[in-house]
Subunit: 336 residues, 2 copies
């Protein structure tokens, strides 16, 4: 078995120096005035031998890698999976590869991932951050790394951020329920102190207080990593121990669990009981009646993220950080 080829082997075979091979490899043949004859010859040898430069060595030398690190909460969450896929697609066309990884909402794992990306010299970081990694992100910034946050903002960091106005979206959703004549609107949310969640809670609260409909006992905060069964049990209690005629679910998976519970309890979703879910999902269109949802503009978010990253990467000069906030869309599905 032949060992991996190196630039030295190519140079040897072509009878030129490795410098020359390197120039040709990097498309600098013209610039460096390598003769056409030599260029062709070397290119042929490279082609025939199937030689691929060792990117590790290249990165070690140049300090960059054409790799963008993407850190999300959970890649199996459809929201992140969709964003990741679109980002990957666009980045790929520009010659960048994406490495993604999930934090599972653990600070230690998030820090670990940042360190791993750092020690692998990724060119840029796209991070859906969690509280507790502010300092790590600051360190990246101080290091002049390209960092774009998304989904969740982190207080006190003045850097590129792409997000959605969750407060407004939540107000809209709650208001739609109020205007539909609901008096006992529950909120099922996750017990996580991240802005994109607390904003949703705040919007719900603000609208209900304004309409004198706010009831503390109708808020259910589900601990992040508890079992599915416990979650369903708590929802069951919420729905059976209180008079509830509408519910706003703050996340996708909570909505799905919740719908399952409502199904078990044989609660009819009709003109007397309405549901709005946060983050749209294909299921919601399939159910009868369909389920209303707050839809985040996935493609716009992904586009903006990758645009920001690529533009930061291509210019030396520091531009001011951009905070891009998209509106979410409330999809009311009143048909049956």
């Amino acid at each position: 078995m032949k060992k991996t080829l190196s630039i030295k082997d190519i140079a040897l075979e072509a009878g030129v120096s490795i410098t020359t091979v390197s120039f040709i490899l990097n498309g600098k043949a013209k610039e460096k005035a390598i003769s056409d004859f030599v260029t062709k010859k070397v290119e042929k040898i490279i082609e025939d031998s199937g030689y691929k430069p060792n990117q590790l060595a290249r990165s070690l030398r140049t300090g960059n890698s054409n790799i963008i690190g993407l850190i999300v909460e959970d890649i199996s969450n459809p929201f992140f999976a969709a964003i990741a896929k679109m980002i990957e697609y666009k980045a790929y066309k520009k010659g960048y590869k994406i490495i993604y990884s999930s934090t599972e909402n653990e600070v230690a794992k998030a820090q670990d991932l940042i360190n791993m990306f750092k020690s692998r010299k990724v060119d840029a970081y796209i991070i859906s951050p969690i509280k507790g990694i502010e300092d790590d992100i600051k360190a990246l910034i101080n290091d002049h790394k390209t960092v774009v946050l998304f989904d969740r903002d982190l207080a006190g960091l003045n850097i590129d951020y792409v997000g959605v106005d969750h407060f407004k979206a939540s107000c809209d959703a709650t208001l739609a329920l109020v205007e539909g004549g609901r008096k006992n609107i529950a909120l099922v949310t996750i017990d996580l102190d991240v802005k994109q969640i607390t904003d949703r809670q705040a919007g719900y609260r603000e609208v209900l207080e304004k309409h004198k409909l706010f009831k503390e006992e109708l808020i259910l905060k589900i601990p992040f990593s508890q079992s599915e069964a416990e979650t369903e049990q708590q929802m069951k209690e919420l729905f059976s121990q209180n008079k509830v005629d509408a519910v706003l679910f703050a996340t996708n998976y909570l909505a799905i669990s919740g719908l399952m519970v409502l199904r078990t309890l044989a609660v009819k979703r009709d003109k007397d009981f309405e549901v709005i879910a946060y983050d749209d999902h294909i299921v919601f269109e399939l159910l009868t009646p369909q389920v209303s949802a707050v839809q985040q503009p996935l493609e716009a978010i992904a586009d903006k993220i990758i645009d920001l990253v690529l533009s930061r990467l291509s210019t030396k000069e520091k531009k001011l950080p951009q905070q891009v906030i998209f509106p979410a869309k409330l999809i009311l599905r009143k048909n049956t």
Copy 2:
């Protein structure tokens, strides 16, 4: 702003050689008989400075990376997302990181990804392969790399593979429909020449032919990358131009599109019309009536994959390739 620390800086500050620092870094202090005093001192400096070794340099030197490359068709497909998440979780605990990427069923992209992983010196490859990359995989094997295939097998390659008996699963599903008294059982599948899909078609066909119920016109093969709208249109035609009393969907997303179509056509899924979907999905439990599905043992698959990889990685000696085939589980949901 201070530049990144290197081992040299640590050695300088500690007043020892970089050799000594390297030994300590790699836990060889005892083995190399470095004095306790020096060890403690160096460790303290490392700790205080926040120094992290450059993995690129380490990999360049040692030839391995503690990174496992995972190549799937589409990371936003729930099946792959779930597998990826589980593999990542287990690998992480063993000190391995996972990089994943999607091929989108394009041979060129798949080859590109393999090359990228190769040039980054990943320690192992986990691949859900597509036809056309046999040679690339062979090259990896010849290079003594650890490669584990899953989901889809590739003819002519005798290497580690973890999969599911799709032929059997498809037979079971079709048989369940036949035994339920269905006479006109349609198959909606994807027009892809990969074993895990063709096996499903073969199982369907075999059972129907045996029962003299096979009808060519009830098979609909959807081109892989056509628009959602076209797909739905074709399904509409299938259902309206033929007498159909049951349908087997060969993939998850086809089933979801199909259910949407059936909903539009106001086809009632009742004792006169039955659906079985391939790959289970949370939606199927939420619908009324619920939808039967073929369930792949995700966790068992993920476990086996990562076990194989880790065991290959930890032993020098070549073991015989393992072909692990799990049975799928038919979940009949007859309740309403």
